[in-house]
């Protein structure tokens, strides 16, 4: 219908800022950019300070370890972003990762000749299946995702323990081609990290540029309004849990490749780190805002803090405290930004419509 008065657009430029493309990057997006920039600055400062104290922190090997260390958390945080944006949360990701990692090991154990891409597909599918369980229960039970996934956190882990029944799988049980995946580098960058980058880019782009991606934000921002505007809320939320499960499955396979030694406890407690990474990365826990890029930066920041405290030989106790402080700082920053924007917008809206 906007075609009907196509003759008019020039006039808009007359009473609005003239450069349309500068204007396109409007307030909503600039806000995100500010948030991501602040993370980058924090990360930069952290690296700088640590390097000043110990110049080996930026050596090739240590950077490689760092990138390797954060890859799995990044993938999980990005998956979690999909869920949190819709005003849900998935606490079962650590258990899914553990289950899939063990399954991958068992697969190689029982069918030694399995090519690793097959294992990858099986792992992702198993993760997605766990996601189906989560999403299905949430749709049927109409109970908050927090409660359901708290249940499946224990359930999946229980299955894992039952299956492993005290066994451990060792690197020797897995084909070298698979294990190499966990340590190989391309131009000095670990493959694992490249995989994580691809995931970040894909999910980030999807969330920003696809209709169904934007609908996830709408659902988290105002569920009732989402329903009224015809968004298939139930279907989207289900899909999000499946996608997150699949990503946790991917992370599980990569975990197996990286560590080689697996028992039923792999990935225990990881879910809290994942949620922390997303929150530090600016993903609002009440849904509706945040980006995959931010969550990934949050994951990198948390991992970097861990290694920099180790490099600086600071008591691990402090690591917990620092992460805690960081989460509070992140929430404080979000609040501050929100208030400042609100104040600015209020003034603007009063002026804007007065000459309408």
């Amino acid at each position: 219908m906007s075609r009907t008065d196509a003759g008019a657009p020039e006039q808009i430029a007359g009473n609005a800022p003239t450069d349309p493309d500068r204007r396109r990057r409007g307030l909503t997006e600039r806000l995100l950019a500010v948030r991501e920039l602040s993370l980058l600055i924090a990360l930069g400062l952290l690296v700088l300070v640590t390097t000043l104290r110990n110049d080996r922190f930026l050596s090739g090997q240590s950077v490689k370890d760092l990138l390797l260390g954060c890859a799995i958390l990044v993938i999980l945080a990005v998956g979690q972003t999909l869920v949190i944006v819709t005003r849900n949360v998935d606490l079962s990701v650590g258990s899914i990762l553990g289950l899939v990692a063990f399954a991958t090991g068992s697969l190689f154990l029982s069918a030694p000749g399995t090519p690793w891409p097959v294992a990858l597909v099986v792992g992702v599918a198993l993760g997605a299946l766990c996601g189906v369980v989560n999403g299905g229960l949430i749709a049927v039970a109409r109970v908050p995702a927090l409660v359901i996934t708290l249940g499946t956190l224990y359930a999946f882990r229980g299955v894992d323990y039952y299956w492993a029944s005290g066994r451990q799988i060792n690197a020797a049980d897995m084909p070298p081609s698979f294990l190499r995946l966990g340590n190989q580098t391309v131009l000095g960058v670990p493959v694992l990290f490249l995989v994580a980058l691809v995931v970040v880019a894909a999910v980030g782009y999807y969330l920003r540029s696809y209709r169904s991606g934007r609908e996830l934000y709408a659902i988290g921002s105002e569920p009732a309004a989402a329903r009224l505007s015809g968004i298939p809320v139930g279907r989207r939320v289900f899909a999000v849990f499946v996608a997150n499960g699949a990503l946790a499955g991917l992370a599980g396979v990569l975990y197996a490749a990286r560590f080689g030694t697996l028992d039923a406890a792999a990935g225990s407690g990881l879910e809290l780190q994942v949620v922390a990474a997303a929150v530090v990365g600016g993903v609002a826990i009440f849904g509706g805002s945040g980006s995959a890029y931010g969550a990934a930066l949050g994951a990198v920041l948390l991992t970097t803090i861990g290694s920099s405290l180790a490099v600086l030989r600071i008591d691990p106790f402090w690591q917990q405290a620092v992460v805690g402080a960081l989460i509070l700082a992140a929430i404080g920053l979000d609040r501050l930004l929100a208030l400042r924007v609100a104040a600015r917008l209020r003034g603007r809206s009063a002026r804007d419509s007065s000459d309408a």
Partner: protein, 507 residues
């Protein structure tokens, strides 16, 4: 039966027949009949709680009807959800804005229908351009890239309107779209609605303002207590006749304020300034006096009220209550000094939707009702009953959640809440927005009574008849400045509109 009076050509575009809907024990609609014709604007009127919004939600596919048929172009129409209604070409503006606060205004308009470029990606440049074009068509300036959070209620309404007209709708349903708008914007909206009619769309329009109904609509359907009363060509009706059918009795639509003895100055505002919002605003209100703050939407009236009450900060100036200064930015102190603010955006700022009617009604008064820190249920209920009865709140029970009330009845609960605090100074922003004729005159009588008891009342209103009927003095704002003060005798429509549009004043 007058529903299909001769003179309308052909088959109606959309027909509802025998539509019934109950919420538990409440029968919201009972066998309602409605026929919308292509090229016609059809008004739906009725008291608060008559079932208008319920009908809208059925048309929108948001509620399934318990019984009854719908046909579109003579074909049976079954809506399994809002998406179906959309696909059938029915665009709806709901009574309560349904925006996504975190998303940009343009995304709010085009959610699910964003223009695409290659690989089915969203073309955000095109989306923003289209949004700007829509706003231009409505003659308003809202930045499409800003988040919807923090939009004034009028702007939210405009975004909703832009959303609805962005559909190539065959049926446009508007549930009180004008409640928050001023005259200029209403005119623009009507122009758009008329052009849609000319292109063969059908419009269903709901409003409590009869001048709008008769201005826009060709046909008027009246609902009372969920039941269909009549459908007639607008030309055959008068306002009084419509009101009689709605209410079932005669209502005087006049509400002159009774003269009250003017007492000491209770509220004094000196040179209040907030950069970019309002400048150098000074006025005073005496006990027994009703002062109206008039002006166009966006002139800064609500902002001044919020600053006086202390919810917003201001950069300069002072606020005095009975000669004593009230600190800026502390609504708690303002309440302690005897001020009450009935905010403009009642749904967001005035109510806890999940709580019951009685809880909400006494929310601001809980301290006074408690003994030794304990809140006694009995006292709370009695107090709530008094006020909800005075304001004729229509609710299934006092214990029902506010969310289940009709829009107008929610407004009444907010009014009850603040009136129950027994303030000395009452600041009331759009006292009768969304409230039906019968209760409107009741609210006016109440305000007049309160003034008679010595209250100082500052009333913001965009409805000129209300301003002229109620105010002892009219202050007119234009672009953040007080440009004119008119005593009752000098205030009339022309003088107020003249000042409000900034004519004859150097801004």
């Amino acid at each position: 039966m007058t529903a299909d009076a001769p003179g309308t050509d052909g088959v109606p575009l959309l027909v509802l027949d025998g539509v019934t809907k109950s919420f538990g024990a409440v029968a919201a609609l009972r066998g309602v009949h409605l026929a919308l014709h292509a090229g016609e604007a059809h008004a739906l009127v009725g008291e608060n709680g008559a079932g208008k919004s319920t009908l809208v939600k059925i048309l929108a596919g948001a509620h399934p009807p318990d019984a009854g048929e719908m046909t579109l172009d003579g074909q049976p129409l079954r809506l399994r959800g809002p998406a179906d209604a959309r696909a059938a070409g029915i665009a709806v503006i709901y009574q309560e804005p349904t925006l996504f606060p975190d998303l940009s205004v343009a995304e709010n308009i085009f959610m699910g229908r964003q223009p695409l470029r290659g690989l089915r990606r969203i073309d955000s440049a095109a989306m923003h351009r289209d949004a700007e074009r829509l706003f231009q068509r409505l003659g308003v300036r809202i930045d499409p890239t800003r988040p919807a959070r923090g939009l004034s209620i009028a702007d939210q309404q405009l975004v909703e309107i832009a959303k609805a007209i962005s559909f190539d709708a065959r049926v446009l349903v508007m549930d009180e779209p004008t409640a928050a708008l001023s005259g200029v914007e209403v005119e623009r909206l009507f122009a758009v609605a008329r052009s849609l009619c000319e292109r063969g769309a059908a419009v269903l329009f709901i409003s409590h303002r009869f001048d709008e109904v008769f201005d826009l609509c060709h046909r008027v359907t009246v609902l009372r207590d969920g039941a269909w009363v009549s459908s007639d060509p607008a030309a055959d009706l008068t306002v009084d006749e419509v009101v009689r059918r709605m209410v079932g009795r005669d209502v005087s639509s006049l509400y002159p304020k009774q003269a009250a003895e003017l007492r000491d100055t209770l509220l004094e505002v000196r040179r209040l300034t907030r950069a970019g919002v309002f400048t150098d605003v000074s006025f005073s209100v005496r006990g027994g006096e009703i002062v109206a703050l008039a002006g166009l939407v966006g002139a800064g009236r609500s902002e001044v009220a919020r600053a006086v009450f202390g919810v917003d900060r201001y950069d300069a100036g002072e606020v005095l209550v009975a000669g004593r200064g009230v600190p800026a930015g502390k609504p708690g102190r303002a309440i302690a000094a005897g001020m009450a603010l009935v905010p403009e955006d009642r749904r967001q700022q005035g109510l806890v939707m999940e709580l019951s009617v009685e809880r909400n009604a006494t929310l601001a008064r809980r301290r006074a009702l408690s003994r030794l820190g304990l809140l006694l249920g009995g006292a709370e209920r009695a107090e709530a009953r008094t006020w909800t009865r005075r304001l004729q709140v229509k609710a299934a029970r006092l214990g029902a959640p506010v969310a289940t009330l009709s829009g107008g009845n929610q407004q009444k609960v907010v009014l009850a809440k603040w009136l129950a605090t027994e303030p000395r100074i009452l600041i009331i922003d759009e006292p009768t927005r969304g409230i039906d004729v019968g209760t409107k005159s009741e609210v006016h009588r109440l305000l007049s009574e309160l003034a008679g008891e010595g209250l100082a009342i500052l009333m913001i209103s965009s409805e000129l008849p209300e301003v002229l009927g109620m105010a002892d003095r009219v202050l007119v704002m234009h672009e953040g400045r007080l440009v004119r003060e008119l005593p009752r005798a000098e205030a009339d429509e022309t003088s107020i509109m003249f000042a409000a549009t900034g004519q004859g004043v150097t801004a």
